[in-house]
Point group: C2
Chain length 204, copies 2
DNA sequence: CCGGTTTGCCTAACATAGTTAGGAGTTTGG
DNA sequence: CCAAACTCCTAACTATGTTAGGCAAACCGG
């Protein structure tokens, strides 16, 4: 008589368990490293056995995939939070954007590896999980265009520069700031190159 | 009566087999990917079984380690070949050095992953294998200093920039030239930033 | 030339980890 | 209330790095 129930308790529970698995996976990845994550570990920590996880994810890579999607989706939220506060000065805005992404990447090694490196053999993000990554890039492209960086090559150069600094920092001085402290200078270099206003050239 | 024999046939044979194992490992890594390398595969291809490889290398990671050392040692040879031909113009020399390293990295994906990325879980190069990598960096640092790039931060910025371009190229456009073609511009940007002579600023 | 040692490779087997098969107990929807 | 669905389990398979132990050929001092 009654129509569909308002809540789908089954699906709700299923979703809750999926979330719990993912949270636990992040936890272990942060503790032991992304690659050291094992299904038996994840399962044990939530009071299950490994095969039971297959009721929630099709494979271990599907878990990585969901984590990948989460990481980029959450960064989208960070972008949302930042955008209203961006300076109208192109240079300052560029620095804020770069610093924000840099900090997000450096804050969690496992997450950075998953998002930005091919550290898991055989893992390739699915189109659905890749979508937020593409959107982050697209929003970055639009934002930079708004700031005066219209050239496609220039945007590629910016992403390479930023990615290079992040990788160097994580690989050669994790926890330190050897490359972190070069970030503003790098952005200035880039801005100078494009002739953006408010030049503050360094190192004569 | 006679002293030690001139040649140690035993060691020679051992070395030859080690080389054969490494060559085969490179071959498989290039074919299937670095992480997809298995000891059973390597062994089979040289007419052995997996455990026999342990007479030549202490572990699979020891094979990766030797490959890592080879890759960097071979690049040292490339540097040797390049150095005499370097232009006296800092900018031109910088471009040649950057392009040479870029091309070396891009020429072999598996090798690049091993040299420059943490793509093999748990693999950390030994001090001996790390040494040539350090020397490449050191020679680069000296060479750049000679060209007028004395600041330590500037050198770090250069390596980050170059590494960022390489990673972007390999990750997002393998086999293409989307970032490769930005290399000269990137070096000019860097040289402009440092005020090196022969400026050819682009993109007004 | 001969007996012991070393070397080179083997088979068997173990541990770990992802994954599949199949089943039992519980929940749930008609 | 019953059948279907769901949840989780145990057992087991596969792949792969690795260890144990053995056997035959090569080597070498006397």
């Amino acid at each position: 008589m009654l129509g569909k129930p308002v809540r789908d308790r089954k699906t709700e529970r299923q979703q809750a368990t999926r979330s719990e698995i993912l949270e636990t996976a992040w936890e272990i990845a942060r503790e032991k490293g992304l690659a050291e994550l094992t299904l038996r570990d994840v399962a044990a920590r939530i009071g299950m056995r490994a095969p039971s996880l297959y009721s929630y994810f099709a494979s271990k890579n599907a878990i990585y995939d969901a984590m990948y999607g989460q990481a980029w989706t959450r960064y989208l939220a960070v972008m949302d939070a930042i955008e209203p506060t961006l300076s109208r000065s192109p240079r300052a805005a560029l620095k804020t954007m770069a610093r924000t992404f840099f900090d997000y990447a450096v804050a969690d090694l496992a997450r950075h590896q998953l998002m930005n490196q091919r550290t898991i053999p055989g893992f390739v993000p699915s189109p659905e999980s890749y979508a937020p990554a593409v959107e982050v890039l697209e929003r970055g492209r639009v934002e930079l265009a708004r700031l005066g960086v219209q050239d496609a090559g220039a945007f590629d150069l910016f992403t390479a520069l930023l990615g290079g600094l992040i990788n160097a920092q994580q690989a050669n001085d994790p926890g330190g700031d050897r490359w972190a402290r070069l970030l503003d200078e790098a952005v200035d270099m880039f801005a100078d190159h494009l002739g953006l206003p408010e030049s503050t050239r360094r190192r004569a």
